[in-house]
Structures are given as structure tokens and as C-alpha cells.
């Protein structure tokens, strides 16, 4: 196995995980497919670009700003659009459409902002990449270390919060039955705000890391829209942790799959690599409609052990 390909697959999967997690989290907690999620990613990328352009330093120093801006945008979207619509009893479809409108608004703002940066400050804001500023530690790039580490940290933190804190259990209870949770004394609005905050924040972190990994431009987050939704669906929207499985499945199959296909059909096949996540999504919808998160791995392991013992 080519180590550099494995390396690329881990970075790609980790970035997918960070980008997709919020979509699943919001779907689970608020029952909304938030299309505007990708605009948080783009916005955070521009925030990092702006600060790096003005003040220099390592772009990684501005990761917290990425988190804050992503979380801020998500809460704005929730409070101004989703919550009022919910109070009026709007359908999920209407809320989905409203998130598309919010995406277009934020994308428009980013476009104007990038024009402003280019025209006034002469920054190359229409097309930029900051990977030349990346560092190397023990042979690993910063983007590898940060994307993978953040994914693991978020996974662990989330597990601890959801399992051991009163608020985390309340959040799971709200997902189970919001009306029962509400009559139990849980303020569902706060729970939702928290979910949107975390979802937007992780999108912000993914966005802040994006310039270290790929070329950025207004609407860069939107280019991942289809893959992000594939990851969310493949991972399953019943289990938060399914997204992480989905991101690694899609990331690895896409990277290794396209490599294998390019050996057989030549490099011209590379442009079609984004078809792979779509094919995986369709297969999962056909054969495992509830996604990877629904697979009971514990039960499978117990069954395997039992079979071995019988033998």
C-alpha cells in the first residue's frame, strides 16, 4: 500500500468527517437538513484567510475564530429562520428550502466580501490556498495532524458530553421524544441552540482548515455539498457516530477506488471521482437504508465469538 495515498485518504476522510458531522447532528436534534451548512465552511475559510493576510502567523492560530464564526452563523440561522418556522408548524421540506435561501444569502455576502478584499486590499481572495504555510512535525503535515486530531477530539468530547452530562442526556432525550422531554422540564429551544452551535462550530473548524488543504474561492464549501450529504446518509441519521464511519468509508473508497480505476483506465478517470460517493450512497440507501450507524457492531462481535466457541 502506498503510504502517501493512505495519508491523503486519512486527511480527506477526516475533513469529510468534520464537514459532515454538523449536518447529521442538526438533522438528528432538529430534524432539519441544513443545506446552508456549507456556507459556514466557506465563511470560516475566509475568516482565516483575512486574518492571515492582515496579521500573518500560522493559519492554525485562527482555528478558534473559525469555530466561533461557524457557530455564530448557525445560531443566527436557527433563531431567525428555523425556530420561527417551527413555531408556525412548517414542514421539513419548507425548512429545507429556507436553508437553501440562507445558503444563497451567506454565499452572496462572502462573494461581496471577497470582492472587497480583492479590490481594496489587493488580496488574492477569489482563489487562494495557504498550504505553503503548513508545518511539518515528525514527517506529518499540520493538516494531517489537525484534521485527524480534531475529529478524534470532537468524537471523544461528544461521547463524554452525551453519555455523562445531564445536558447531554437531555439532548438525547429530546431526540427520542421532544414533547416528553419538554414536559419533563427540558427547554428544547436551548437544546437545539446548543446542537446548532456545535454543528456550526465544527463546520467552522473544517472551514478554517480548508485553505491548508485545498484551493479556496467563494462557494468552495458548496462544492462538497453532495459529498457531505452522502456521508451523512451513509453514516445514518439515527446515530451521531455514524457520520465518522461514513466519512472514512467514503473517503477511503473514493481515494483508493479512483487510484485503482486510474491504473486500469488512465488518469482521465480522475475527474469522475466524485461519482464514487454518490454510488456508495445509492447502494447504502438500497441495502442499508438506515446507514452504517444502525449496524449493531457489538452484537456482530458477540455472534462471531459465539460461533467460534461452538466450533
Amino acid at each position: 500500500m502506498n503510504i502517501s495515498v493512505l495519508y491523503a485518504a486519512i486527511i480527506y476522510s477526516s475533513m469529510l468527517g468534520l464537514m459532515s458531522f454538523g449536518v447529521t447532528f442538526v438533522k438528528i436534534t432538529s430534524n432539519v437538513w441544513n443545506v446552508a451548512h456549507t456556507s459556514f465552511i466557506t465563511f470560516a475559510a475566509y475568516i482565516v484567510f483575512t486574518f492571515e493576510s492582515f496579521y500573518g502567523n500560522s493559519p492554525y492560530l485562527y482555528l478558534p475564530l473559525g469555530f466561533i464564526i461557524g457557530a455564530f452563523l448557525a445560531i443566527i440561522e436557527y433563531l431567525l429562520i428555523i425556530d420561527p418556522l417551527r413555531k408556525r408548524g412548517s414542514s421539513s421540506l419548507l425548512m429545507l428550502v429556507s436553508t437553501i435561501a440562507f445558503l444563497l444569502i451567506v454565499d452572496g455576502i462572502i462573494d461581496i466580501y471577497s470582492d472587497y478584499l480583492q479590490n481594496i486590499y489587493k488580496f488574492p481572495s477569489k482563489n487562494f490556498i495557504l498550504s505553503y504555510l503548513d508545518f511539518n512535525f515528525l514527517g506529518f503535515n499540520g493538516i494531517f495532524l489537525f484534521s485527524f486530531t480534531f475529529l478524534i477530539i470532537i468524537l471523544i468530547l461528544l461521547y463524554l458530553i452525551l453519555t455523562y452530562t445531564k445536558f447531554g442526556i437531555a439532548l438525547r432525550a429530546s431526540v427520542d421524544d421532544p414533547i416528553l422531554a419538554s414536559v419533563t422540564g427540558i427547554n428544547i429551544k436551548y437544546v437545539n441552540i446548543f446542537a446548532w452551535f456545535i454543528a456550526g462550530g465544527t463546520a467552522g473548524i473544517a472551514g478554517a482548515l480548508l485553505p491548508m488543504w485545498t484551493q479556496c474561492f467563494p462557494g468552495v464549501g458548496d462544492t462538497f455539498l453532495a459529498i457531505i450529504f452522502s456521508v451523512s446518509i451513509v453514516g445514518g441519521v439515527q446515530q451521531i457516530y455514524g457520520t465518522f464511519l461514513g466519512s472514512f468509508l467514503i473517503g477511503f473508497i473514493q481515494i483508493f477506488g479512483i487510484l485503482g480505476l486510474s491504473i486500469i483506465f488512465g488518469s482521465s478517470i480522475l475527474v469522475y471521482q466524485y461519482l464514487i460517493p454518490m454510488i456508495i450512497m445509492i447502494l447504502v440507501l438500497l441495502f442499508l437504508p438506515e446507514g452504517l450507524g444502525k449496524i449493531n457492531f457489538r452484537k456482530i462481535i458477540i455472534n462471531i465469538k459465539k460461533r467460534r466457541q461452538k466450533k
Binding site: 445531564k166 438525547r172 432525550a173 414533547i179 416528553l180 419538554s182 414536559v183 419533563t184 427547554n187
Partner: protein, 241 residues
């Protein structure tokens, strides 16, 4: 403690309840009975802020609680056990109890849960079990336990005996009497089948087509032959059981 006066309510524009007047005091068990679709569940949902109130008032300890969000109603001491979905199935029994105690002080959590075990000792054995794995009776006990953890002043139960075997139903009713005597709280039970709750009720309201058609002591209801005949096919059904 609870006084509902001239209440009209429903869901959006669908008017369900008409001029309802009910009352429940502490250390009292009040039963609301009536046929299917008479508005019993809507009445409880209205009290906990889950429907639209058109007119009338709901006073709890002389404070008007009309249109207060349900999580705030839980905070002031009204507890509601819905019919059917009254536990969180994906959480463990312990997590359900912890959520039942969501409004409690964290320091008192262990002690409060231990107090509940004195009423429902069986739950102690199932703490790590997923709530979805419990039987119907155990779920009902867990649901009631979750409500009691909040130390409510008023406990409202929507068909707590539905789908339970007569033995388990009797056990739960005994527990309710025990809870009323021990904790001195008011209990409102909504039931379709009067025979199940007749013995333990201090007062009964009969609801039909969204209106109260009878209110009084249980013996007064039984003496009213016409009323029983008209609305209580339920009663004879109950006697046969």
C-alpha cells in the same frame, strides 16, 4: 391547588374542549373518565401547555398558568405522564431516571433516586438496561418514577393502566394510593375504564364530547343510573372483567 375554569381549548382551529371546570386538591385522587375521543387527553395536554387555549383559566396554587411553555409548567410542580410514549426508549433506565430528575439539584440526585427505589424496588435491578427492553408494566413504573423524581405537587397520568394485565394494573393503582398518602400530592388520572379507578378516586369527572357531563364522588356517579347507562358501557364492561 389546581382549578380549571370555563376552559375552551383545542389544536389550532379545532375546538375540542368546551367550558371545562375541574379541580384537584393535594392528597386527592381525581379521575377523569369518558369514552374514546371525549377530550380527556386534550384536557391534560392543555394543562401542561401543549394545546391552544381559546378562553378560560387554569390556576395552579392561585397562579394563572395559561399558555406557559410546558418546560416551565414542569418547573412549578405539575408532572405529566403521557399515554404510551412516556419513557425515553433509547436511554437506559438510569438515564431515564436522571432525566426525570432533570430539575433536581445534582447533589440530591442519588438520594432522590434511592427514595424512588423504596416505591419501585424493581427498577434498581434494571438500571443499566435500555428502557426499550422493559415490559409494559415496568415501563409504566419507570414513567411514574420519572415523574415522582421531580417531587411534583400535582401528578397527572394519562391512561396509566392501558395494556396492562389486571394484576399489574392493581399493583400500580396501589402504588398510586401509597404515593398520594406518603407524598401528600394531588393525582389526576385519565382513564377510559371507570371500574379500574373507581375504588381509589376521591372525585370523578365524566367527560363526553369535550364537555363535563358529571362531577362528584364515585358513589354519586354510581347512584346516577341514567348517567351510567348513557356513558358507561365502560362500567358494565369493567364489571365483567
Amino acid at each position: 391547588m389546581l382549578a380549571v375554569s370555563n376552559l375552551n381549548s383545542g389544536y389550532e382551529k379545532v375546538h375540542i374542549l368546551y367550558d371545562i371546570n375541574i379541580q384537584c386538591n393535594s392528597s386527592e385522587i381525581v379521575s377523569i373518565i369518558g369514552p374514546n375521543g371525549s377530550g380527556k387527553t386534550t384536557l391534560l395536554k392543555t394543562i401542561v401547555g401543549l394545546t391552544n387555549i381559546y378562553s378560560g383559566s387554569i390556576l395552579f396554587n392561585n397562579i394563572k398558568i395559561n399558555n406557559i411553555p410546558s418546560y416551565k409548567i414542569a418547573k412549578i410542580g405539575i408532572s405529566y405522564l403521557p399515554q404510551g410514549n412516556n419513557i425515553f426508549p433509547s436511554l437506559s433506565v438510569y438515564e431515564n431516571l436522571r432525566i426525570g430528575c432533570y430539575l433536581c439539584n445534582s447533589k440530591d440526585l442519588k438520594e432522590t433516586i434511592n427514595e424512588i427505589f423504596s416505591i419501585f424496588p424493581i427498577l434498581r435491578e434494571y438500571l443499566a438496561k435500555k428502557a426499550s427492553m422493559l415490559s409494559g408494566g415496568e415501563r409504566q413504573m419507570l414513567g411514574i418514577a420519572m415523574n415522582l423524581l421531580r417531587k411534583p405537587k400535582l401528578l397527572m397520568l394519562d391512561e396509566p393502566l392501558a395494556g396492562l394485565s389486571p394484576l399489574i394494573a392493581k399493583n400500580i393503582l396501589n402504588k398510586l394510593v401509597e404515593i398520594k398518602d406518603k407524598l401528600k400530592i394531588g393525582i389526576i388520572i385519565v382513564e377510559q375504564n371507570i371500574s379500574k379507578v373507581l375504588e381509589i378516586s376521591d372525585r370523578i369527572y365524566l367527560l363526553a364530547s369535550g364537555k363535563i357531563v358529571f362531577s362528584g364522588k364515585n358513589n354519586e356517579l354510581l347512584e346516577n343510573k341514567d348517567m351510567v347507562k348513557l356513558y358507561m358501557g365502560l362500567l358494565s364492561g369493567g364489571k365483567n372483567q
